[in-house]
Symmetry: C2
């Protein structure tokens, strides 16, 4: 792909064809400048098959906005659109529309509210809400979904693996298993959600986190291929990186070759005054091998070097490894906690692909049109009540109880302020029979989650750095119920509608003749 081709397929035309044909139709009908609101929300938590998330970590916003602000249609884009023909050879896009598009083809006049990155988010709530002209809000859809869906998925997976690993260091190793350059977004999202570092060199530098890594099997193989040994390879590595020596010990045989050779090299390092850093296990029974490695390392006086585990890890595999370590350690005379507290995890494939749930069930739906000086809510009916988006201009609030734990997220109409209500009526978004009342005395704090990001194209938000985003994440996770954070069968967190919003939704459903 040439540089010009890259610009063509990552710029304004990074969208679906129907967005442009609809935009042309809106233009012809004089609807293209009609002010509308689209909301982005996901319908359900990632379901990995044998396990399921009980919360998501928000991510992707800054890169989306950055793309929106730098992208505008080019002459080359217009020329391509001009060349499109329909079944009878007629042009698909006509000059009048293309002239308008060339003048107006950018996203720098839209307004956008969003929940900040790093925050815990839940289904049904608008994570991003966009307002602006119909044609451009429509064309934006594909890129917006693309930017947000994937980063939320990976940030969520990273958070789960980090939780499963009891907060021990988590390294993201997945670039080789990602979808092309999209892997950079994955590494970023992993760093937001729970990974401490990434092996991805470029994006780590862009984000200000030093990339991390060990060495590959090929290094040992190269030495072997040239008539030398694994020990020679380890010695060379230790000589090169004496203060940062992590040795991959499974190239030949972990217990018979890799670990004994690593111990020799570690002793040589120690005798020269260096502190060896760790060993990495990348195959075999990781629980058993880490127990054996722990014992061998301790017996040689290397109690504090890391044991880095990798090889198709995810939150369940890590959980299972730790269970097995806890069960087997006593029989081997090992303090399980001492071992668990020296473990470090390298996670590639399952994190970067959100294995088991590689796409987020998210949508970007029209929820309001501006008419006669006000935002009028719209509805999209569906055969399934759960799939009907919440209508209108809304706010999202997080309600904390007296102990500081988040008890529900509440969606209200834009003119409602739960902070001044006497009590809160929390209505399930689709099941009319499910509601509860929260008295003021039950409420510790109420937070508005949506913040203003773009105001008619002007950035009115101070994008936080990754460290701030990670603190926000930790803060939100700390205030989330343990049951909701469970890796398997989590409790269902309540996302509720105010009575007013519920009534509005029912009214609109009946008005358009849908089922309710």
């Amino acid at each position: 792909m040439t540089e010009q081709e890259r610009r063509l397929c990552e710029g304004f035309l990074f969208t679906d064809q129907y967005q442009l044909t609809m935009a042309q139709l809106y233009y012809r009908r004089g609807l293209h400048e009609q002010l509308v609101q689209f909301d982005y929300f996901f319908r359900s938590y990632p379901d990995y098959g044998s396990h399921k998330a009980g919360y998501c970590i928000n991510a992707g916003l800054e890169w989306l906005v950055s793309w929106m602000l730098k992208t505008r249609i080019t002459k080359e884009d217009i020329a391509e659109l001009k060349s499109q023909t329909g079944p009878l050879g007629e042009r698909v896009f006509n000059d009048d529309f293309l002239d308008w598009l060339y003048e107006n083809g950018s996203f720098d006049r839209l307004s956008l509210r969003a929940i900040p990155e790093g925050r815990v988010v839940h289904p049904h709530e608008p994570v991003v809400s966009v307002q602006g002209s119909l044609a451009l809000c429509q064309i934006l859809e594909t890129s917006l979904l693309n930017h947000l869906n994937y980063q939320i998925l990976v940030a969520t997976k990273a958070s789960r693996i980090k939780a499963s690993a009891h907060g021990r260091p988590l390294l993201e190793f997945g670039l080789r298993r990602a979808q092309g350059t999209g892997g950079n977004a994955g590494s970023r999202a992993a760093l937001i959600g729970g990974a401490d570092f990434s092996s991805n060199v470029g994006v780590s530098h862009v984000l200000g986190y030093p990339p991390k890594g060990t060495h590959a099997h090929s290094m040992v193989q190269v030495f072997q291929g040239l008539g030398m040994s694994e020990l020679d390879a380890f010695r060379a590595y230790a000589e090169e990186y004496p203060d940062n020596c992590i040795l991959l010990v499974d190239t030949i045989d972990t217990l018979k070759s890799g670990l004994p050779n690593a111990l020799k090299v570690f002793e040589e390092l120690r005798s020269k005054g260096y502190k060896p850093r760790g060993v990495r296990l990348d195959s075999g029974d990781l629980a058993y091998l880490s127990l054996r490695a722990h014992k061998m390392l301790n017996e040689a006086g290397f109690d504090d070097v890391w044991i880095v585990l990798s090889n198709e890890l995810d939150e369940l595999v890590v959980w299972q490894i730790l269970e097995e370590i806890r069960r087997e350690a006593p029989r081997m005379g090992i303090d399980a906690d001492a071992l668990i507290n020296r473990l470090v995890y390298g996670v590639g494939t399952h994190l970067i692909t959100s294995w088991g749930s590689p796409a987020l069930s998210a949508a970007y739906k029209l929820t309001a049109v501006y008419q006669e000086h006000e935002w009028k809510p719209t509805i999209k009916v569906s055969e399934s009540l759960e799939k009907i988006p919440e209508p209108g201009f809304k706010n999202v609030w997080r309600i904390y109880n007296g102990r500081g734990t988040a008890t529900a997220d509440l969606l209200t109409c834009g003119d409602e302020d739960p902070a001044v209500m006497d009590s809160l009526y929390l209505q399930h978004p689709s099941d009319s029979g499910k509601h509860r009342m929260l008295e003021t005395s039950d409420i510790g704090d109420i937070q508005l989650l949506l913040v203003d990001v773009l105001n008619e194209g002007n950035v009115v938000y101070d994008f936080p750095d990754l460290e701030t985003i990670r603190r926000q994440r930790d803060n939100d996770l700390e205030r989330l119920d343990e049951g909701v954070k469970r890796i398997i069968n989590p409790h269902i967190y309540h996302v509720s509608l105010s009575e007013k919003l519920w009534n509005l939704k029912q009214y609109l459903i009946q008005k358009v003749g849908g089922k309710s």
Copy 2:
């Protein structure tokens, strides 16, 4: 992300940290210019859980080579590497290595052989084989895996869905569910593997295939939100695209609203001399709704408009829909084949993510080092015999039987030519007991699969256009046994080693002391 940041994380530093630390070690040891060979191969077919592939479609080569030829390290890259520090604050990369890297940091002197895109490929065989200096072959690993793994996955999935759909038109709709800009690689791979067109505007133009699409629910909603109706929306669309009118009929109620309104508009089009194009069903029971739609359309005299199906389709869902149509059609007085032959499929999420198997189990392994004027094979032992790569400089041959069907792929040492052998000994790559003999009389044709692509950086290959790649794919699929192409429980295609290669492998395994 700024343009400079993008260049930083999509250029030479689009790699893993350990590739660079190993490269520095090789530099220090004087091994960086050592000529080596790495082979790229996958270990097993994608396994989607309830079903599994019996073949893969090769894809990704041209974009990989294009990336290799345009990428070289920049001053900015060097400055970033210079800034990296280890645990004690010492520099990770030193000036001598960085000076060498700045002078030599590109892939334009490597040699590369590969199996062409669009060809059917199988596990264990080198799909790409790279030769060149150790440091650069090592640094290339991450990007090479990233470019090839994903496109092979998606091309394979597309081929399966196309087969399940009995060759009916397949549209790729997945950009919104992809990993960032990686979605463009996904669209390309889908077009190589089996999709006829994509909705992805930019990449469709880059590849010379016009993007396709219908319209979204939001179009109907916009009209409703502004006080108009679904019928108004359909009329507007038909007026704008009279020769290419495909109407999405499930926004309100498929049978009660969408289809009746579509029929009205189609009749209006017909009365004006236009030919309506189709309806799209995007929710509900697609088998039942397509039967009903078929009947309604036929009764109104629209026997030849398409019924486009979408909504979380994959090869199994399509297979199940067709089964149900075949079962139910007679009871409804419908000719099942007539319905099946008007169906068109829009596939998004499950295709672009290779749902169920979102990463390919592939590897890039050192297989030879050049010493004393010859390529010396190397081995990477493993606790599992299946994971041991085939050593040395090799060729891959496809053996066809007398009926023109591919019967096995044969890996041989580089100096073997099966065309001049009296009979072919086909040895299973890891199970010593499994082998068979093919007499010349059983052999119809023998093809060499690997072709020269780069010769010390010079392109010696004429990259075919997508149309040629697709013809190659069709040709290969036609010559593949039906059992191997089965969607569920496919027959195992034989990938075999020649006796000489098998003996070499055993010798090397014993030499390095591995298990055999």
